[in-house]
């Protein structure tokens, strides 16, 4: 009898050791811990243990490559957080026109279908700024719209933001290791709903991720390479759609004037317009912007004149 108890105690200590090892050595071990513990304590057979291991692994991988659904929830919270600082510009006609250009431009991007789709909104501020939240929620300031004198130039601004979403630049700003704690929690809750404490852990990782993205977008800015990548992507979208990509250059030239003596918004977070222009010219050459189309100019003025 005492021998059986000893054997069982030994198995439990093996299980405990396995658990401890899992916590020390990180997530890849965590996915297998259910199986190791279960088998060691004799609670489940080898097949059941294998199934649990696979299930934990399924969740682990799901979380590692963030699904479109998760990207959507991150994007919603990022946009809502930006809207704490910058108030929306509540003019229906202007926002409808912005969406007409933007959502049409999206169809010419590499990944036009996101979980919740692309949506655009103007921000009240005079600051020259624009934000692309993951999943396709794009916020553009009145100050940024004022840098655009034609529909083509506004299309170029939106194409640049769409390109940020396409390349998942926002998600890439999440600090490495941020998701590890949430991953451990999810592994432990394999196949069931999250209990209170576990939910709090995942929410903490969520809050951290939102903070990483918004502080990058609003304060530190992306790297120059990232911005050049978004500009290049914008040129591709413009060309496919049928706009002249030189509109991005003329918009940047105007922005350069606008940004002088202003170290807010794009002045703080983006490479100087002249640097972006020099880089862009490597891609589009010296192509010049043709005369603005009268129809386009009229609808641009009608919807955004006075913004």
């Amino acid at each position: 009898m005492s021998l059986r108890i000893d054997a069982r105690a030994q198995l439990l200590s093996v299980a405990a050791a396995a658990l401890a090892l899992a916590f020390v050595s990180g997530c890849s071990t965590m996915s297998q811990v259910g199986g190791v513990v279960g088998q060691a304590t004799g609670v489940m057979n080898a097949d059941q243990a294998e199934a649990l291991n696979k299930s934990a692994l399924a969740i682990e991988k799901t979380f590692q490559d963030i699904t479109p659904e998760q990207e959507y929830y991150i994007g919603r919270a990022v946009a809502a957080t930006v809207l704490v600082t910058y108030k929306p510009f509540d003019r229906e006609q202007a926002n409808a026109y912005l969406n007409l250009i933007g959502q049409t431009a999206v169809q010419f991007s590499a990944k036009p279908e996101t979980f919740g789709g692309y949506h655009f909104l103007l921000l009240e501020t005079d600051e020259v700024n624009a934000f692309a939240a993951p999943g396709g929620l794009i916020l553009v300031s009145r100050g940024m719209v004022r840098c655009c004198k034609t529909e083509d130039e506004l299309a170029a601004v939106l194409a640049h933001e769409i390109s940020h979403v396409d390349h998942q630049h926002g998600l890439k700003a999440i600090r490495k290791g941020r998701l590890t704690s949430a991953l451990t929690t999810l592994g432990a809750a394999a196949g069931s709903s999250l209990a209170g404490g576990q939910l709090a852990e995942v929410t903490k990782a969520f809050e951290g991720s939102i903070s990483d993205i918004t502080s990058t977008m609003m304060n530190s800015g992306y790297s120059r390479t990232t911005e050049f990548e978004a500009d290049k992507g914008a040129v591709v979208i413009m060309k496919k759609m049928g706009y002249n990509p030189a509109a991005l250059v003329t918009m940047l030239e105007r922005m350069q004037v606008q940004l002088k003596a202003d170290n807010k918004g794009f002045g703080k977070t983006h490479p100087a317009p002249e640097v972006r222009i020099a880089e862009l010219k490597k891609t589009i050459g010296t192509e010049t912007q043709p005369e603005a189309s009268p129809v386009r100019q009229e609808r641009f003025q009608k919807s955004l004149g006075g913004v």
């Binding site: 399924a58 963030i66 946009a79 999810l186 809050e207 496919k240």
Partner: protein, 164 residues
């Protein structure tokens, strides 16, 4: 003349490479909240029907960024590849698939990780973050006909992509 025929040969090759016949139908899942099935492989085409997150459908053929699909009810049309996933999407965390061990490469769990539950918890902990305008902006949807009209009226002629 020689140059011309070379050009046609090149174009023919592009068309051949652009169309891929899938060896037997492949089952895929809709990975967006609401996906549209179109009459032609173009966003400017007519919407045949809509499909929901997690719906399974058969892919018969691929043309560039587009897949020709058949739904369970027999309806068919074209969907953009970015709306589709090879993974099966288990809609409930406790579902059979989640418990009996499909691997992460084969299975995605809807509502897992950062989900509506997490957003709700985030909202209670961050009362100053207001989602009202996020919900409002998500309601602004431009139908394909309006996009088509917008391009036409403005004399904007797509080069490729949307027209494929």
């Amino acid at each position: 003349m020689k140059r011309q025929s070379k050009r046609w040969l090149g174009l023919g090759l592009i068309v051949m490479i652009g169309t891929t016949l899938v060896a037997g139908p492949v089952t895929m899942s809709v990975q967006v909240k609401s996906g549209q099935v179109l009459a032609t492989p173009s966003f400017l085409g007519k919407v045949v029907t809509r499909v929901n997150y997690g719906d399974r459908l058969q892919v018969l053929e691929q043309q560039g960024d587009w897949s020709k699909v058949t739904l369970a009810d027999g309806q068919g049309g074209w969907m953009h590849n970015s709306a589709l996933s090879k993974k099966k999407i288990a809609m409930k965390a406790g579902s059979q698939d989640a418990q009996t061990g499909a691997s992460g490469d084969e299975l995605a769990l809807a509502g897992k990780g950062f989900s509506s539950d997490v957003e709700a918890d985030f909202k209670t902990k961050n009362r100053d973050v207001d989602f009202t305008w996020v919900d409002k902006m998500e309601k602004i949807k431009v139908p394909p006909e309006s996009m088509q009209q917008f391009l036409k009226d403005g004399g904007i002629q797509p080069v490729e992509g949307g027209k494929r």
